[in-house]
């Protein structure tokens, strides 16, 4: 089923460097006067380059056309349904973009004195409070730059906590269904990551947790709802087990979009958590960043959070507080990914308490609607209900027809849908992880259902040959890794 659209560009356009013409110039942002003294009178010649760097030379229209053309090669939320599980690809409201680009937010220098940025500090202070309330926890650091950075920061906070009570604990327990960042962050924070198995239903195997939990356990990192899209109802028991051993519970907030205003991590027993505001609170994903990774913690851990924090003085003014002697210190330069945080603030203010709860309810409804409409064709091993996402398995198709999850993913691109997340979580064979989010209408979901059902009927040859309508076909990943070409070089 070739659906070649000749309006779309095909193949990869020439690189910037291949379009370069010696002597051509686009922007002139500065001019030096003709009588300016030689540079070497200002800076000793030994520091100066003989010539400008070897950058491409293009005219302005060529630069514009190049990037417009590149943009047209992408799938994106603004033009395609993007049911990429675990990534919460929801609509990114345009109003947030205009707000974040107000000069009073966008053009503020990071080291301006607090008195000159009272409005911005008020926004950040409010956001700290909203995130604490949504978490059911007490204190929030907005500093981490991404979810994985938040994980690491929280684990450093946990280490500081144990140090402060004279303990050194070696292990962090991580379920086998967790995101790969969890064990990786544990390792970077100086802990050993110990894997806890999932039971057949996809929830934490309590016997295995019991076997691995001991006085050396610093933290148990749980994603709840988990990566199979299930709420682990054993959470109360898990919390009690951890408390008995003096271990902390960390909640990976990747799936917060399922539970806003419904259940709070702190009320589940979590002591620390991170948010992904670029997912839950609608920050655009930008082709892979920027994100942010604010963390929320229980009261007794607040003193260890990174500095600075925004505080409100009795006079009513806001300040950045660096005078926090037990803080773990900084985990980055400057305050944080403020542009992402301002968008999160604007999103929360747009929604209010009813709106946030509605978002989770609709996200869960959309996921269950897809699950119910697809499970006869794409079995869902972990049950008939889900939270905001579910994991279907192409295992049967793989056995019967030799059609793998990746083939289905690629074929979906021909139907104009971005692919689900595939082969994750690793506890489900041939996983297709589908997260529709609350943004999508019933009509879009129905079109997706039709496409998925049509794909299930298509011949293996068609699916193996997919995609056939994208600018390029499947890349040779093996060659890319065996003989890496990571930059253009002049021939």
């Amino acid at each position: 089923m070739k659906q070649k659209n000749h309006m779309e560009p095909s193949g990869s356009p020439p690189l910037l460097f291949e379009q370069s013409q010696p002597g051509r110039q686009s922007s002139v942002l500065a001019r030096s006067s003709a009588d300016a003294e030689p540079m070497s009178r200002l800076i000793p010649g030994e520091f100066l380059a003989d010539k400008a760097p070897d950058l491409p030379e293009l005219d302005e229209l060529s630069v514009v056309r190049h990037y417009v053309r590149l943009s047209q090669l992408n799938f994106a939320i603004d033009k395609n349904f993007y049911p990429l599980g675990s990534c919460t690809m929801k609509y990114n409201p345009k109003r947030n973009e205009r707000i974040a680009s107000l000069p009073g937010f966008a053009s503020v220098h990071p080291y301006q004195p607090s008195r000159s940025v009272q409005g911005l500090l008020e926004v950040l202070y409010e956001l700290q409070n909203y995130l604490a309330e949504i978490a059911g926890l007490h204190a929030v650091s907005l500093q981490p730059a991404a979810g994985a950075h938040g994980e690491l920061t929280a684990l450093l906070v946990a280490a500081a906590h144990f140090r402060s009570i004279g303990e050194k604990r070696a292990n962090v327990l991580v379920p086998d269904s967790a995101h790969g960042t969890n064990p990786s962050s544990a390792h970077i924070a100086g802990f050993d990551a110990v894997t806890v198995k999932s039971g057949p239903s996809g929830l934490v195997d309590l016997d295995d947790l019991k076997a691995k939990l001991n006085s050396q356990t610093a933290v148990f990192m749980i994603t709840n709802p988990n990566t199979a899209g299930l709420f682990d109802h054993q959470i109360g028991t898990i919390s009690s087990m951890l408390r008995e051993q003096g271990a902390l519970m960390y909640l990976d907030g990747a799936n917060m979009n399922a539970i806003l205003g419904v259940v709070r991590p702190g009320d589940m027993g979590a002591d620390l958590m991170h948010y992904n505001p670029h997912k839950t609170f609608s920050g655009p994903h930008g082709g892979g960043g920027p994100g942010a990774g604010p963390i929320a913690v229980r009261q007794h851990l607040a003193k260890f959070l990174p500095s600075p924090m925004v505080v409100r003085r009795e006079s009513g003014g806001y300040e950045l507080d660096n005078d926090r002697p037990e803080s773990i210190g900084r985990v980055r330069a400057t305050f944080g990914n403020v542009g992402v945080l301002v968008r999160a603030w604007a999103y929360i203010r747009s929604q209010g308490p009813d709106g946030l709860k509605n978002i989770s309810e609709m996200a869960v409804l959309n996921a269950n609607y897809l699950l119910s409409s697809l499970k006869d064709v794409y079995p869902v091993p972990m049950g008939d209900r889900c939270m905001h996402e579910f994991v279907a398995s192409a295992r049967a198709m793989s056995r019967e027809k030799g059609v793998r999850a990746m083939d289905i993913a690629k074929r979906l691109l021909d139907y104009g849908f971005h692919a689900p997340t595939v082969y994750f979580p690793m506890i489900i064979a041939e996983a297709l992880m589908i997260e529709p989010t609350e943004s999508e209408s019933r009509q879009t979901l129905d079109q997706f259902i039709l496409a998925m059902r049509a794909i299930a009927q298509e011949s293996p040859d068609v699916l193996h040959a997919a995609p056939s309508t994208t600018p390029v076909d499947r890349p040779d990943e093996v060659q890319a890794a065996r003989n890496p070409v990571l930059r253009w070089r002049r021939k």
Partner: protein, 452 residues
């Protein structure tokens, strides 16, 4: 309630398909005991008009480089951003895509990153660059970790105290629970002395970290410092101001092993410090241990050139706790902006930005030194940032505060980082600062210092 599309009919039809009477029933796996039985205690929703009005009012309470004359630096600079950077980078196809895991549906993002990697390699003079890291301080950390794993030396990291204080503090935080010691070498007269670095080096030192120009704006003898590191078998990590590479010899020419930098000044807004991007470039021998995302060129099944994420076996989603870094993202949009900026400027434009910044900075330094009670701290070589010292009794923070009321952000008082330097102000100059801006700063400081 914005952003959810379902009509009452949709809801009824969908609930019927799912087979539940109401939405509430979908949450039955959440134990009643832990559920929130009230609404969240956050403010009520605002519509777009209300929110825009409110946010504009709050934003209006901030001073910014949008309205004031900005002489602040320390890694973040008020450079001019051509209109096409905003226009092109904010296209929804770039803006609302995600990580290019499905290469066929993401060639735009992938090619843009491949070009970004090339552009960063070109300006730094290094073999390779990654798709960017969070920002500069964490890039310094990743560079130190790469040095530790590739040399097998876990004893210490040696760093000059003229490296950005927040970058030093960040590395210290990351090393808290590890065996590796962070040894800070004091600078003298705002420069790092090679003999002091040599004295701090041991056989188990993984790397030396130098910033060029350093935090005070001074140009280090980077070439000799790199040699010192290499003589002891340590790696040399150079943290650079990317704009300076339009004018200065690049670190690839004198043997740096890893180059990092704060990329904000390449076409990105300051946004109170983030999101920005950390530049990370290195020699090719570190390719398979590099942190962060990498895009490679390959061919598709029809032999057509294309791009894909590659060398992912380094990364956490495959390697889990054995990964080279826990980083799971890059700063895609910021890297895109940096690439568009460099493509637009080209070699000539990039050099002009660097040159004009340097010329205006030298004018400013000379002009400020004429003010009674003000002196340049060191008469050494600098690029576009320098320190002025006020006479005893005159606090830099107070002077800056007085000037601020005149609509000028005068610089960064060093007392926040170096308590023994209460009279020192770090001043940065970009190509945006005109002669009259410099004159305005000088006059405002004269008035400020004339006040009792």
């Amino acid at each position: 309630m914005a952003y959810t599309p379902h009509t009452p009919d949709d809801l009824a039809a969908m609930l019927a398909v799912v087979g539940v009477p109401d939405v509430e029933s979908l949450f039955e796996t959440v134990p009643k005991a832990v559920r929130l039985n009230r609404l969240l205690d956050i403010p009520a929703a605002m519509n777009e008009l209300e929110l825009t009005r409110y946010a504009s009012e709050i934003a209006g309470r901030n001073q910014s480089a949008g309205t004031e004359i900005c002489f602040m630096g320390g890694g973040f600079y008020d450079h001019f951003i051509p209109a096409l950077v905003d226009q092109l980078a904010s296209r929804g196809e770039f803006y609302t895509a995600y990580t290019p895991y499905q290469a066929e549906a993401s060639q735009g993002t992938l090619q843009a990153i491949f070009e970004f990697q090339t552009l960063v390699a070109q300006i730094t003079g290094m073999d390779l660059a990654n798709a960017s890291l969070y920002e500069c301080a964490t890039a310094v950390v990743e560079a130190a970790f790469l040095a530790m794993t590739s040399t097998g030396r876990l004893g210490r990291i040696v760093m000059s105290d003229a490296v950005h204080p927040e970058h030093r503090q960040t590395l210290a935080t990351y090393l808290t629970n590890l065996e590796t010691e962070l040894v800070i070498v004091p600078s003298v007269n705002q420069r790092t002395r090679p003999e002091d670095i040599a004295a701090a080096l041991t056989d188990d030192t993984a790397a030396v970290v130098i910033q060029q120009p350093n935090f005070f704006g001074t140009l280090e003898d980077a070439e000799t410092l790199v040699q010192m590191a290499h003589e002891k078998g340590s790696l040399a990590i150079l943290s650079v101001d990317p704009i300076s590479l339009g004018l200065l010899r690049n670190p690839g020419l004198f043997g740096a092993d890893i180059v990092v930098g704060e990329g904000q000044s390449l076409g990105n807004i300051m946004s109170f410090g983030g999101p920005s991007l950390g530049l990370f470039a290195c020699r090719s021998e570190f390719m398979r241990k590099m942190p962060g995302r990498l895009v490679g060129e390959t061919v598709d099944r029809n032999g057509k050139r294309c791009y894909t994420l590659t060398l992912q076996t380094r990364e956490q989603h495959i390697r889990r706790e054995k990964a080279t870094s826990n980083i799971c993202t890059n700063q895609g949009l910021m890297a895109l902006r940096a690439a568009i900026y460099l493509a637009d400027l080209g070699p000539g434009g990039f050099r002009q930005v660097a040159e004009t910044s340097a010329r205006q900075a030298h004018k400013a330094a000379a002009r400020l030194a004429q003010i009674p009670g003000v002196e340049r701290v060191l008469d050494g070589p600098f690029f576009r940032e320098f320190v002025v010292r006020f006479e005893p009794g005159r606090l830099a923070s107070v002077a800056a505060e007085r000037v601020r009321s005149q609509g000028i952000l005068a610089g960064i008082p060093l007392s926040g980082y170096y308590p023994d330097r209460p009279h020192d102000l770090l001043v940065a100059v970009t190509e945006k600062r005109t002669d009259s801006d410099i004159q305005a700063l000088a006059l405002a400081l004269e008035v400020a210092l004339a006040c009792a």
